[in-house]
């Protein structure tokens, strides 16, 4: 048994797929850019920060661009996955682990030790180190010094832009992939990075608001300080608050109904954007085992329940008791949440009971857990406490374990180990909600082309969400899975043209078959009718 089943952990390349001289130069250029950042991190005080920042980001971008052009433009258009399971960095080899450790370390410092990055460490609270290197850019965009989040946002945006370019070249024969990538690049650069900075420079009392980042991914959107500042900012503030609520209850369900959750997860979302671009080289690392799927379903829905209860508790504690002061009292609020969830639950159970099968039981458990928690909240709630702990503590716990550890440290830091969408798959509560909508009420599916599947496994292998696409395709069955983010790579890599992402009628969307198209018509009827 050769075929490199046990990957070499040696630093020397064990395989034939060497990179070209031009690519080596490109790598050096990119590393030089990173080296400037490293020097800044080690407190090198650069004389002209604007120049060195431009140089650093420029070198990183140029390195990535030159590398990608050499990798893809020198070859015919087509699927370019040669050697992905041989290369140390993309097959959990030594380089993969090293990168994973560096990324994880970066996130830990970013979330918990921002002073190491130089935040406010200088005279009069001025920045030093890495953060100070980014001051000129921050001043330019919003007229204030940089923060660790600005540094992170800038690097994040550069990563999506540079690796987005690489991805577009890799899939230059595939318009769906190109458009989708341009879309995530646009939303990251505009909505996540530039617009919030400009909004700040126009009206500094508005909270940072990435418009596309909706609750519950943006779990802090309805905290008191944000809601207060929305309300205190007149029409714009109210418009933002209303938009925040509408995006959960109206805009996202509607778009998900029309196009599936892909409209968000692989066209708009920043987490998805990074996974699809910088994370592309790691997409095949996600586990396709049945056991991983089971874990996924428990984890993601637990996080969803946690985020709903946490948010409810946070809002609940700052609402008043007196209906004369404001119509939305804590009683009204709790009851309306309970009524809303009950309506959703009832509608599903009445109209979709058949489709749910065994999952109906888990759905019911989830529903009753949430209702029980709401009741408990009512009886234990004081002005700042629920369940005998501070609502703030609940929020901090969520922010720490889910917002930081899960989405950042594990979600992105473990790209080279768990694949690019570990957070999206196992943790993101937004993906949980959209996935639920996609599974229940969406026109979206991946259509299987009759009996053409040869069970090769390219689709499953490249699914970043760990869906065993082949399991469906080889049965001639359409893929309707709540976790599918509609990236379309399964369809792209299929050597026989079997898979197509499409929006069509709900009828016949889920079509399990036993005997596939191409066989005896009588046999197909005999076996498939059930």
């Amino acid at each position: 048994m050769s075929n490199k089943l046990n990957h070499s952990m040696s630093l020397a390349k064990p395989d034939a797929l060497d990179i070209t001289t031009k690519q080596k130069i490109a790598l050096i250029i990119g590393i030089a850019g990173l080296f400037i950042l490293t020097l800044a991190l080690l407190n090198t005080d650069f004389p002209n920060k604007g120049l060195f920042l431009s140089l650093s980001l420029g070198l990183i971008s140029i390195g990535t661009i030159v590398y990608s052009r050499e990798a893809y433009l020198t070859k015919q258009e087509g699927i370019k996955n040669d050697g992905q399971w041989f290369k140390s960095i993309s097959s959990r080899g030594l380089w993969g682990w090293i990168l994973g450790i560096i990324l994880t370390g970066f996130y830990i410092v970013l979330y918990f030790f921002e002073e190491l990055l130089g935040l406010g460490q200088g005279v009069d609270g001025a920045n030093t180190g890495l953060i100070s290197l980014f001051d000129p850019l921050s001043q330019l965009l919003s007229g204030r010094p940089a923060s660790q989040w600005f540094v992170y946002g800038t690097l994040y945006t550069i990563a999506i832009l540079a690796f987005g370019y690489k991805f577009i070249l890799k899939y230059r024969h595939n318009k769906y992939q190109q458009l989708r990538t341009v879309s995530v690049m646009f939303f990251q650069l505009g909505f996540a990075f530039l617009i919030p900075e400009f909004m700040y420079s126009m009206n500094s009392s508005l909270p940072y608001y990435d418009l596309k980042n909706m609750w519950p991914l943006n779990y802090y959107n309805f905290e008191q300080y944000r809601v207060d500042s929305f309300i205190n900012n007149g029409n714009i503030g109210m418009a933002l608050l209303i938009f925040g609520v509408l995006s959960i209850f109206v805009i996202s369900p509607f778009l998900t109904y029309k196009y599936g959750k892909r409209w968000y997860c692989s066209w708009v979302c920043g987490c998805g954007g990074l996974a699809e671009t910088a994370g592309d080289s790691f997409r095949h690392l996600s586990s396709k085992k049945m056991s991983a799927w089971k874990l996924e379903r428990w984890l993601i829905h637990t996080v969803l329940v946690f985020s709903v209860v946490m948010t409810t508790a946070v809002i609940y504690t700052y609402l008043g008791y007196d209906p004369d002061k404001y119509w939305l009292t804590r009683e009204v609020f709790l009851i309306s949440i309970g009524v809303f969830l009950t309506i959703v639950f009832a509608v599903i159970m009445i109209f979709k009971r058949q489709e749910l099968g065994k999952d109906a039981k888990y759905g019911a458990i989830g529903y009753f857990v949430v209702i029980a928690l709401l009741v408990a909240m009512h009886f234990t709630g004081t002005t700042d406490q629920v369940f005998f702990v501070k609502a703030g503590a609940l929020k901090s716990a969520y922010g720490f374990y889910i917002g930081s550890i899960f989405s950042g440290v594990i979600g992105t830091g473990f790209y080279p180990i768990l694949g690019s969408r570990a957070w999206c798959r196992f943790g993101c509560p937004m993906a949980g909600i959209l996935g639920f909508q996609q599974r229940m009420f969406s026109k979206f599916r991946i259509t299987t082309n009759g009996g053409q599947c040869i069970s090769c496994g390219n689709c499953s292998n490249s699914c970043e969400m760990g869906i065993d696409v082949r399991h469906y395709a080889q049965k001639g069955e359409n893929i309707v899975r709540s976790s599918c983010v509609g990236c379309g790579i399964c369809s792209a890599v299929c050597p026989r043209g079997v898979l197509k992402l499409e929006n069509d009628t709900m009828k016949g969307r889920i079509n399990p078959t036993e005997v596939l198209l191409g066989n005896d018509v009588d046999l197909m009827e005999l076996v498939n009718q059930k």
Binding site: M1, S2, N3, L5, D15, A16, L17, Q76, E77, G78, I79, N81, D82, G83, Q84, W85, F86, K87, H173, N174, K175, Y176, L179, K288, K289, M290, T447, N449, G450, G451, Q452, I454, S455, C456, G457, N458, S460, N461, R470, Q474, G488, S491, P495, R496, G497, K500, L501, E502, E514, V515, L516, L517, G518, N519, D520, V521, D522, L523, L526, V527
Partner: protein, 434 residues
């Protein structure tokens, strides 16, 4: 409890086993000498290319078999004794069966070339062939050049595999254009150009005379029949077709021709012995099909059918409309219905051929020139819907209907450029000038 033994864990045998399990509680054993678990043979190339690891080519996780009470036995069956219903294994084991399914697939053809069994000469069919290739052609330093003999589907896949590791390839094709016994000339010639675009040294109308060895009995070079030219190489891939892998039953009472002879119920001349997949040979060909169909899909369909028979619902193997697919380097190919090459088509079969100017997309539509009935389509670089063509073939649509409704059959990813309008106008123009 009735014991069904299936020899061969490929798509035919495994499909049979799965369907028997759905229909019954019979004891099922699958025997294989090749691998412990079922894998997708068509995916072997992707392991060498590094797209996947071997485990990814296994469609079912390892717990699947025990959970579904499908016993797996690894071993090489040496002889079959049909009177006592016993299998004898190479290691001396025996196994009793009540019903036997032979699903042993194919083996690469060898045509008696001198040197065809040397070290470094291999087919590309079994898992062992892949291991062999990995040993002899791990990179372009160990393997400075490879020569492929035989211009078919496996040959071009092997060329793509070697190309992925930057190993120079010389590709010897007996015909004067790639696979033109099957493909009409317009398509075949487009693929010729595509192969050359990948820097593969394609030699048409070229045969192998012999393979020469170095002092260690390893491949050193090949000699070309027509010119006597010697080409130095370290690996020779023999991909001149496959034939049924049935040597182990030649001495049994089971009737064989090139394959195991079966009737339409996939039964052999011996009661309770059946054969399916690549190794089965129909007494009479079904429709335009060949008596031996060495195709993934037909193996699967035979498996689906035979499971019914074995579980008491005896039915004929009656495949529906022909379809197939392949990928030539970067160009996908699908076919629905029958499109024959110039060499083998009948006089009544006419073709409409359209090719895109980028030279990576084309279609050929076959129709009866007397009745205008649509016979089939080959499509390259444009994905089309199986169910739509299956329906049109059943409805016996004429070629005009098909050409005018082509957009309905499109299966390309969203936002792709569409060519149906261009195709239709080319078609209409051709009608006017014809």
């Amino acid at each position: 409890m009735e014991h069904i033994v299936i020899i061969g864990n490929g798509i035919s045998g495994v499909t049979t086993a799965r369907h028997i399990r759905k229909l019954s509680d019979k004891r099922i054993t699958i025997v294989s000498a090749e691998t412990d678990y079922f894998f997708s043979r068509t995916a072997l190339m992707y392991i060498y290319m590094g797209h996947m690891k071997f485990e990814h080519t296994q469609p079912y996780e390892n717990w699947f078999w025990e959970k579904n009470r499908i016993e797996l036995k690894k071993g090489y069956v040496k002889t079959v004794e049909t009177t006592s219903k016993t299998l004898h294994f190479a290691n001396g084991d025996t196994l009793q069966y009540d019903k036997l399914v032979i699903a042993t697939g194919s083996k690469p053809n060898k045509f008696g070339w001198p040197g065809q069994d040397l070290n470094g000469v291999m087919g590309m069919y079994h898992k062992q062939d892949l291991d062999n290739l990995e040993e002899h052609a791990p990179n372009n330093k160990v393997c400075k050049r490879a020569v492929i003999v035989g211009g078919g589907l496996i040959g071009i896949e092997l060329a793509e595999m070697l190309n992925s590791r930057s190993i120079p390839v010389t590709f010897l094709v007996r015909e004067d254009s790639f696979w033109n016994g099957v493909l009409p000339s317009g398509e075949s010639e487009m693929i010729n150009r595509h192969i050359k675009n990948h820097n593969i040294d394609l030699r048409l109308s070229t045969n192998l005379r012999e393979i020469k060895a170095d002092e260690n009995g390893k491949v050193k070079s090949v000699i070309i029949e027509e010119t006597g030219e010697e080409i130095e190489c370290n690996v020779v891939g023999l991909t001149a077709g496959v034939s049924p892998n049935i040597d182990f039953i030649k001495d049994s009472e089971i009737e064989t021709g090139r394959g195991v002879k079966v009737n339409r119920f996939l039964e052999t001349n011996i009661k309770d012995v059946y054969a399916i997949g690549d190794c089965a040979e129909q007494h009479e060909a079904i429709g335009n099909r060949r008596p031996i169909e060495a195709v993934w899909y037909t193996g699967r369909m035979m498996g689906e059918t035979l499971a019914q028979t074995l579980c008491g619902n005896r039915i004929e193997y009656k495949p529906g409309h022909w379809f197939n697919s392949a990928k030539f380097m970067d160009i996908e190919y699908q076919t629905y219905g029958w499109v024959f090459s110039e060499r083998s088509k009948q006089d009544t079969e006419a073709h409409f051929h359209w090719r895109h100017k980028d030279d990576t997309k084309c279609i050929t539509v076959a129709y009866n020139k007397d009745t205008n009935k649509f016979l089939g389509i080959n499509t390259f670089g444009i994905r089309m819907r199986h169910d739509v063509f299956d329906r049109w073939l059943t409805e016996e649509r004429d070629v005009d209907y098909v050409m005018n409704n082509l957009p309905e059959a499109n299966f390309d990813p969203e936002f792709y450029s569409h060519y149906e309008a261009e195709i239709l106008s080319a078609y209409n123009q051709k009608l006017q000038t014809a």
